[in-house]
């Protein structure tokens, strides 16, 4: 079996400015954030990002590396919208291609199956057809004669997903309850990149979870990178949940240029190892602050 092990820098080194890049996960869940952070530090620009969007989209918009976002939503789940994506849309600094969630799925599926489009009712009558003048309808060749939307294949130059476990040959295991559409992002892409919480010997997959959790086949992967905490601050269950405190800090910092500059210096202008240790420090500071608040409250109640 080929050895596909690689590094974040090598992975991002395979990308080129102007590429269309699909990013797996859903909202603020199991996003390949370590790879996104590495893109932020690169000299790439003019990217088209295709994503069931979360903070991956927000951070890339904030960095000015994105010219277009293809999305059905951009959300942080526990917080309805991403502040940087919001700002980018409201100032017009990124172009947008907005699809229904199901159309987006069919676009990835069509690209994976090497067919030009898949038909669907979704989109008919909605603004999606108006804001995407490139979309066409197709009339059923059978007796029903229904006129449906022909959702075009969403071809990707590259796709990046993050999984719980993987082996050196690029097979991946998703241990959380929802594999989302990660397999289809890989299927739709020319270059396919998997980052993982932990690289393990293939024979260990079976002790981590049942067969149906081994859902990314090496047929779909080119490189695999071990990056523990690589989905932080998004959820990567069962390894860790969403870091809600950190996500709140991300949103708060986005609202103020000075705060954002401090956030960027501390968490984004450093390499992945630096990020992970800054996150640990920040979390210890928060815990200490909470302990002090509790102590002060207890002292207040006692007096």
């Amino acid at each position: 079996m080929a050895d596909k092990r690689s590094t974040l820098d090598e992975l991002v080194g395979e990308l080129r400015s102007g590429m269309t890049v699909g990013i797996g996960g859903w909202g603020s869940r199991r996003k390949p954030m370590a790879a996104v952070r590495t893109i932020l530090r690169s000299d790439l620009d003019d990217l088209t990002i295709v994503s069931y969007g979360g903070p991956d989209v927000g951070l890339l918009c904030a960095s000015g590396k994105v010219s277009r976002v293809v999305f059905p939503f951009v959300t942080l789940d526990s917080i309805p919208t991403d502040p940087h994506f919001k700002a980018a849309r409201q100032t017009g600094s990124v172009a947008a291609t907005e699809y229904d969630e199901g159309m987006f799925y069919l676009g990835l599926l069509a690209a994976s199956q090497r067919i030009p489009f898949l038909p669907t009712r979704a989109g008919l009558g909605s603004a999606v057809l108006e804001v995407n003048p490139q979309l066409r309808t197709v009339t059923s060749p059978y007796d029903d004669g229904e006129e449906l939307v022909a959702m075009p294949a969403l071809h990707l130059d590259a796709a990046i997903i993050h999984v719980n476990r993987a082996d050196a040959a690029g097979s991946g295991q998703i241990l959380g309850p929802d594999p989302f559409f990660d397999e289809l992002y890989l299927g739709a892409a020319e270059r396919r990149f998997v980052t993982t919480e932990r690289l393990i010997p293939t024979e260990q997959f079976a002790s981590e979870g049942p067969l149906q959790t081994m859902n990314i086949s090496r047929l779909l992967t080119d490189l695999v990178v071990e990056t523990p905490g690589g989905a932080h601050f998004t959820a990567c269950v069962p390894d860790y949940g969403r870091d809600e405190a950190f996500q709140k800090e991300y949103v708060a910092a986005a609202g103020d240029p000075d705060a954002w500059s401090a956030f960027r210096q501390r968490f984004l202008d450093v390499d992945e190892e630096g990020y992970q240790s800054a996150v640990r420090e920040a979390s210890e500071e928060l815990a200490a602050r909470k302990r002090a608040e509790r102590a002060a409250k207890a002292a207040g109640e006692a007096s």
Partner: protein, 258 residues
């Protein structure tokens, strides 16, 4: 607990009842509900008059029964895997009844959750159209608006996410075949589209709300019947299910006051 009527029933509880009624006579379909009153309402319906409803755990599974809001995941009894990819199978099969939220809703039932202002460069970017275009064309869809005002009930929504009656008709038979906008429940009343031209009608006002208040808070001309009933009272059993079983922490009062 604050109350707006002399029955001791809060406004939020009337909203829960109105949401529960959306799922009456549904049989074995997947009930999806966004917002607090719809979440309690769908569970109440499952525990009373629509026992075959299938509820989701809010993650990637279908669960047994209708536990309290906020029940920890590890104490739910799950019956089936329902990751997003399978959710689309259910959506496109039509075996679903849904209450979505609406940042804007208009006279013919179009809903907007995408953006306020011009789409090309919005005044306010919202979450995105999400699944609303496909949902509305494939299975019954109703809406929940906890802050009824002329900003949420508008003449025409800015970005049509969920498709209303006129636009579905204009889009042709493939769009109307499975299209149905059920009701709109707000903090002031209940609305439907059971009119000859499928424009929004005031179906009931919540006790304590007048027809004039509803009209003043609505940015278009509503169809108002001569006699507008009040939203029905919960039965004692329903009230105790809401207060003691489904929402003992009173989350409903944080969404709708009074």
């Amino acid at each position: 607990m604050t109350t707006t009527s002399d029955t001791g029933v809060t406004r939020a509880e009337f909203c829960v009842i109105a949401c529960a009624e959306v799922f009456r006579d549904d049989g074995e379909v997947m009930a999806s509900a966004f917002g607090t009153a719809p979440a309690i309402g769908s569970r109440l319906a499952q525990r009373t008059f629509s026992p075959d409803l299938v509820l989701t755990d809010g993650d990637a599974a279908l669960m047994v029964g209708a536990p309290a809001l906020g029940t920890p995941t590890d104490s739910l009894v799950l019956e089936s895997h329902m990751p997003y990819r399978k959710v689309f199978d259910v959506v496109w099969s039509g075996r679903r009844n849904l209450i979505m939220m609406a940042s804007q809703i208009d006279r013919t039932g179009n809903q907007n959750i995408s953006a306020i202002g011009p789409w090309a460069q919005p005044k306010a970017q919202l979450v995105g159209v999400r699944g609303a275009p496909g949902n509305t064309l494939n299975h019954p869809t109703s809406y929940w608006v906890p802050n009824h005002s002329t900003r949420s009930f508008v003449e025409q929504v800015d970005v049509v996410s969920g498709v209303g009656y006129q636009r579905a008709a204009a889009a042709g038979p493939a769009a109307t075949r499975f299209h149905a906008i059920g009701r709109v429940v707000s903090n002031l009343g209940v609305f439907d589209f059971e009119t000859p031209d499928r424009t929004m009608r005031l179906r009931s006002v919540h006790p304590g709300v007048t027809v004039d208040e509803v009209a003043a808070a609505t940015g278009f001309e509503l169809v108002v019947p001569d006699q507008v009933p009040e939203t029905r009272l919960p039965t004692p059993e329903e009230l105790s299910l809401i207060r003691d079983v489904l929402d003992p922490r009173g989350l409903r009062d944080r969404e709708v006051s009074g």
